[in-house]
Amino acid sequence: MMLALCAAIIVGASWGTIPFSPATIVSALFHPHAQNDATIVLWSLRLPRVAIAALVGAALAVAGLLMQDLLGNPLIDPYLTGTSAGAALAIAVAIAFGAPPGLYSAIALGASMATTLLVAALARSGTGLSVERMIVAGIALSSLFAGLTTLVILWSPSASVSLSILAWLGGSLAGHGWRDLGWATLYALCGFALALTTIPALNALRLGTRRAQALGVDLDRTRWIVVIATCLLTSAAVSVSGVIGFVGLMVPHIVRGAIGHDVRWTIAAALPVGATVLILADAFARSATPPTEIPLGILLSLLGVPAFLYLASRRPKTA
């Protein structure tokens, strides 16, 4: 998996409007101060984009895995808690009111975290979280925010504003650099760290919630930690990439199909696999139809859905 990730990094750095050979890219990687086109393009454009793709892919994959394992449902998407819908509405409003693009990441981050916290507050049950209420609240708020976002697009002052909003909703890594990685990396790392603490509990939950509880798993604490970790991971991803769906749903399936269901290994594998999938998808998105780019979120849906259905149809049926 790490070899696949290294190969994806080389591919991601090589492909683009100006293609470079892998040998040129490797040379530029080891000579960062050389003054040639390849080195400049690599270090100022391609590498930050590859790094963001890796971060977003890994974050969404781990977030999807956490939510699916917590709820015992392989069809759960990490955006279930309304993260993407809240961020999308906030960005739509920000673009419509002419907020500077430099603020988009911070706005998306704040809105997605606020939405998750709102969903968690609505799903509170005693000292814990009701899983059913969380799903209902997440779906309800996502629908509400999606409707409001459409309204903002329809009422936006000009067609160009509407297009800007739609481009963000389509999900893209275009125009992002090293500066965008800072906060997103910090939040994602906190999310990863929290995710690691839930591994024993999530493994016990594979036997069912009642058995896990009897084994000493604190269900309330586990649910809160997973929701907070998922919030940090998806917010970090949304803030730099917009709405990129499907990675959080698909990658956990790929990982489980390859190495089994033990959460110790699936979380470790979801990091490189998620990163690899998004780096390759982004490389394809920006080099398939030059000079324009296919929005990454849309591309992943176009390629991912058939791949996912194929994988699902090959899965052996359990008794």
Partner: protein, 262 residues
Amino acid sequence: MIDAQDLTLAYGSNVVLQDVSMQLGDGELLAIIGPNGAGKSTLLRALGGLHTPQHGHVMVNGKAVAQMSPQERARRLALIEVDTSPVTNVTVREAVAQGRLPHRPWWRWNELPEDEAIVDEALERAQLGDRAERMLDSLSSGERQRVWVALALAQHAPSLLFDEPTTHLDLGHAMHILSLLREVADAGTTVVIVLHDLNVAAAHADRIALVGKNTLLACDVPERVFQEELLTAAYGAPIIVRREEGMMLAFARPPLRPKGAP
């Protein structure tokens, strides 16, 4: 050793059981019986620390269950509840190894050095050694019940509580699982089981707790609990008690039909 005092168990304002007190010694096997909805499973959950009593307390080896952390509770009490949710993609060994979870510090993901031998021993005691690598959902109901017993054995808890261990099992498998629980009790573990079959309870338990009419009607040796009036009052149906070849037998009296009826 489990000591329950003055328990009132309720769901909101709906009181299920009240004035329940019982003491269980090491190596004792207690069967809880009673009609549907009488609160048998709720009582078991309360003894296991997963249902907080509205009043009263449960002590295990001198310490209140309510004061224990979830991990400490799981080290002292192994509780197997009825859980019909399907368990897929888990091998027998993986499931039984989860019994070691309460003994690991929260930051440790891998098994402790001694865990492998403990899991192997639990699998052998439950006669699952040859099925360790089988997937759980490929086992029969009886084998799956043995997996949960093996998991509880791996927990190394001094008390084992099992809700309906013989439900959906044929006679052979039911006897097998009850013999296993008897062995566990004879080895010094306090065992509490919820049963629907009164005769099975009388045959295997040291004492029987009869719940009904929102309270604990009796908690005594089978001979004293198997009173026709007591059982009839608890179940709301005429119950006949017979002693056959040293065994206590109870069965519901069928309604009398007039002569000549088809």
